[in-house]
Symmetry: C2
Subunit: 426 residues, 2 copies
Amino acid sequence: MSERTSIADLSAYCRELGRRARDASRSLATVSGEVKNRWLLSAAESLLAKSAAILKANQQDLARAGEYGLNAAQIDRLKLTPPRLEAAALGLRQVAALPDPVGRVLEGSVRPNGLKIRKLGVPLGVLFFLYESRPNVTVDAGGLAAKSGNALILRGGKEALHSNTALVDVLQSALKECRLPVDSVQLVTSTNREMVGELLKLKEFIDLVIPRGGESLIRRVAEEATMPVLKHYRGNCHVYVHRAADLDMAERIIINAKCQRPGVCNAMESLLVDAEIAPAFLPRIGQALREKDVEIRGCAQTRQFVPWATPASVEDYDAEYLELILSAKVVNGLEEAIVHINRHGSQHTDAIVTNDINAAQRFTEAVDSAAVMVNASTRFHDGFEFGLGAEIGISTDKFHARGPCGLQELTTYKYVVIGKGQIRDG
Amino acid sequence: MSERTSIADLSAYCRELGRRARDASRSLATVSGEVKNRWLLSAAESLLAKSAAILKANQQDLARAGEYGLNAAQIDRLKLTPPRLEAAALGLRQVAALPDPVGRVLEGSVRPNGLKIRKLGVPLGVLFFLYESRPNVTVDAGGLAAKSGNALILRGGKEALHSNTALVDVLQSALKECRLPVDSVQLVTSTNREMVGELLKLKEFIDLVIPRGGESLIRRVAEEATMPVLKHYRGNCHVYVHRAADLDMAERIIINAKCQRPGVCNAMESLLVDAEIAPAFLPRIGQALREKDVEIRGCAQTRQFVPWATPASVEDYDAEYLELILSAKVVNGLEEAIVHINRHGSQHTDAIVTNDINAAQRFTEAVDSAAVMVNASTRFHDGFEFGLGAEIGISTDKFHARGPCGLQELTTYKYVVIGKGQIRDG
């Protein structure tokens, strides 16, 4: 549809998209795991067989990257290469190898009156996935949605439209080949900006929205959506060095958490150091971070031991930098660290380094975050590292799913009750 | 605060209420199960010891019931009696006897690199519970919230204000006695109607809203809330009599599901009968329902066999009557029944009566409801009957919790990761 489509037409178009997804989801919900896996493997194969066409479409997007004002990092994210397509195909095969989350028995019992109660995993229904740039995410999301029995509506960035169209063509051909409803995966090809708002109204057709991108996109979606949203805004992750820490271990963890991949949500953004060990630890960690080109923004006490650090503003303690900048603060013990993290953190991932078992227990109980680490890098908070398989994102909400969201988190449950004619007395 | 308080004052008052609840929730989250149980038992005891004062407060509410225009059924719901207080106290003791949902290990593994991953039950934080009439619900909600480690903000109906105030006094005294934060249970005593709207804005302080009452209240809350809502709108529950049904069993189940307690959400509202057995079954079930004073609103085919039935409108198939009225429809087999239920039902509870194992399996897989029953009354869909203990409501949503919402559903989880200094390579 054109950019000048009226809102009424747009609304009708979106409703039709939603209705098709809902219909597809009703079929998908009862498809066997075998058929879903066949689809995943067939899509993986086609992805490689049709790689020439996909790369050509990607070239069209790359040719326009300048028009869209993408920077070098964004262009790199947009770019598809044979190894990247192979990785995407491998991802589909890995999802095929995971256990089917649909139909698994979560709980079960027989009541005194003989009723058999079973709580079974079932698909959510229809997922609406919004994302920016990276076209390989199209394939990842398609695989996770199909395996979990959910129909999927995809809306990628306009800068990746040709690539996403080519990739969804591959996914849909594989659906046809496996006699699955082709509307199981639909791509919104209109770049009309009103479209997203219209889709976010359709709670009768869409069960869950998953936005992935910048904080402003996610906030807009959370504001407008009439259905649940699975999201995280920011990852302002802390490492707290307790007075009973092994300082070599603390240094190793901090360098890894901050520097190994600074642009991701589970990278460290803020350092808390116990006052008692600040004189021993801050000079050495300051030096180690300096060698890695990390800028430190610290409190007055921090700057006493790291003279090249700049002063931290209040905003610094709330910031997710996603680059080689670190906020730092000296705290008077465990409780102050906990209060600071619960106040300034983003409930994503926070770590303590300590050899004191009581401090570790208190920290893990009192810090209200999706993942709390003891003597480990914050970088481990992800579905693969937790042994849960591929994920569609990490949730910092408390409702439904928290932490890595993979196949299980894309399902809900129903109760199935089997009787022999039981009726209720009281 | 008075009825004439300004919105600015109201907003400040609500924020203070929210802040106190948030603070209390931070303490409650790490309180041991032993202390929470001591509180529950102490509150149960006080409820009986202070019953005279509670009943006197209830008398004040009852004296005004006329002013508020309550009907006989509503007055009965409002009324507290010594047996009803004993039942409420027993409820608290039963909750004390349930396992603590906080800290339970939901999943756990050790990764190849030695990281120990544990997924642990933790409280949601702050619950905001809105309800109408029945003051004993105040006690039930207080018990479930405390046991699950959540702080609670209660807002009851204005017609029960004196009763609720007296009951919350008892709960708060018991909190003080057990040295728990008194703000763990707070009652909104202002009857200002703007109050609810202000509280629904406070997503930084309130993690979950639970409205219980009429559909209009629930819709208003779902519209306005900025935080998740746990709810069900309606219970339009079906019983489908398949052609392979035991007709005696079908009659027993239908009479129970419709007549045993017609005013509750898991009561039956709609009957579907296979065309093949309609001539044998409809006359007898029509007669049996007539003897129970049930009005039947049916399709043309139904009325052929039940001449005293009135015609059903389209609205009838969507209706939750909550009284002795039943919609009825003859369907051409299993698939038509499934489509009808998924279109007109409320995703609450739907049952099939059949001796055919394939029909039962197809029905339980394809009907998209919180509970799907085979050869059992819809009336069994409740936390106690499922063996899950007391519940705060039944959810027809798919997100977070579906079906009975008890202690487990009032919790979320966090990941706790224990390492020995592990850092990430790739």
